[in-house]
């Protein structure tokens, strides 16, 4: 059953068109990765779904309901939470306050509470009263993921969570994803790290210059096909 869908999604920054009709579907509980080079439109796609960028109402649907024109706070309330690129933690808030504010717009019962987020990332509990931006990059990313989980989302959008982090730290963070998936959330992961994306996702979309150039299951996609879709050259 399709939970989230985009249909002919177009996005603009002023006169500049960033997305040229994206068709994407996400089933309940599914994990999908979106890969592509810088400027491919991955972040724009997530910003459109999360309501930071307004679109035509029908361009994004949640269980058939048009949500493309809704603003970010309304989208969160429906159960779509985002881990933004660069983490974007609130500097004036402690680690725990950053987590708590994650349920400001959607305070519903579910698997994710302060305790279960601390269970997922125990290091955060030790540092709960520290200003969030005083943590290491990896720990900050854990706060950003935990903050999004606090709303018990049906869809979790993760934008470039490996950006700027050491490989060992990235591995630690991705180790949490099976448990996030078990909680029932569908996950969209935007990554430049193709290997990571292929390991964690059930399906992959590859984007280039604002268009989807390839999609399929990781095992069914050849390296050459991904290369071509990613860089636009035939190796």
């Amino acid at each position: 059953m399709t939970l989230l869908q985009t249909r002919d999604l177009k996005a603009f920054y002023g006169d500049f068109q960033a997305l040229f009709g994206i068709d994407l579907a996400l089933a309940a509980g599914e994990t999908v990765a979106i890969i592509g080079a810088n400027g491919a439109g991955k972040t724009t796609l997530l910003r459109s779904v999360s309501g930071i960028i307004a679109n035509a109402p029908e361009a994004v649907t949640l269980e058939g309901r048009p949500i493309g024109a809704l603003a970010a706070p309304e989208v969160v309330a429906l159960g779509i939470a985002m881990v933004p690129e660069g983490r974007k933690l609130f500097a004036s808030l402690s680690v725990e306050e950053n987590l708590l504010i994650g349920r400001y717009g959607r305070d519903v019962a579910g698997p994710w509470t302060l305790d279960s987020v601390y269970g997922l990332f125990p290091v955060l509990k030790e540092r709960r009263n520290v200003p969030a931006t005083a943590l290491s990059g990896g720990q900050q990313q854990m706060v950003a993921i935990g903050r999004a989980l606090m709303s018990n989302p049906r869809v979790l959008l993760c934008d470039e969570i490996s950006l700027g982090l050491a490989p060992v730290v990235i591995r630690d963070i991705y180790a949490a994803f099976p448990r996030i998936r078990e909680s029932g959330a569908a996950i969209v992961i935007v990554e430049q790290d193709i290997g990571q994306a292929l390991r964690v996702a059930e399906r992959v979309y590859c984007m280039m210059e604002g268009r989807v150039t390839l999609s399929g299951r990781p095992g069914e996609l050849s390296r050459e096909a991904i290369h071509a879709a990613y860089f636009g050259v035939h190796a």
Binding site: I52, M82, S92, Y104
Partner: protein
Amino acid sequence: MPPISGCMRDAPWPEDDGMSWLDTVVQGVLLGGLYALFAAGLSLVFGIMRLVNLAHGDLIVLAAYLILVLVTALGLNPFVAALVAMPIMFAAGWALQRLVLNRTLGDDILPPLLVTFGLSIVIQNALLEGFSADSRRIYAGGIETASLAIGPVNVGVMPLLTLASAVLAIVALNQLFYRTSLGRAFRATSDDPVTAGLMGIRPNRIFAQATGVAMVVVTIAALYLGTRANFDPATGPSRLIYAFEAVIIGGLGSLWGTLAGGIIIGVAQTVGAAVNPEWQILAGHVAFLAVLLARPRGLFPRAVD
């Protein structure tokens, strides 16, 4: 020994030097409480939405007239009238933010300055139209002249209440800021309104509530402004400058800093006046500049800007 009368005019209170200076400083601290009340609302609004409200002083005067009307028309005690005025001013602040000021916020800092400057003129002239230019005063039934002997110093009951109210208001605002969900939303929105939106926070609503809260503090300030001295429709801007100075030397966004700033200006003014009555206002401004020279970001700047 004959009295040395020639020297008496130069030195202030040579008959009892130490005690008089103590008295002067105490009066200055109490005056600082009033300035802190003027400034707390300004500090709150600036801290959350980076909005410099040039009409803040006029809003205090507007609230003073509202209390005056409640006192004269309904025969209320001024303190009760202020309690009645608080929700009215909260609603007025909420509506002002939703209908007017939110539309001025953005990357450009000029529109809010221009709009609140215009609002200042509108309020002054509306009050002039409604209440004439006569100076008015809120009578509090004799409590204005009551005083208490605290140790060697006599302090007025109203100035004492003013300082106590300022401290209470700042404690309450800090509790709101650091202990409640709304306070977290205030701080998050101040940090990053776009990401706050991803948390389900609607910045425009948060700003409206913040301005509403600021107007409640404005109402408290108005009560003490109106009972302490005469006011007229043009009183606002001269009060605004002390509020600005208190906010800036306290460190932008820090409420305790705002109280400290108010007290520094209050003490500087009373000490200046004790040395020479002509120096009262000047001494406050000099203290402001001196603190800025030593600490350009104020005494207690917030860790992040």
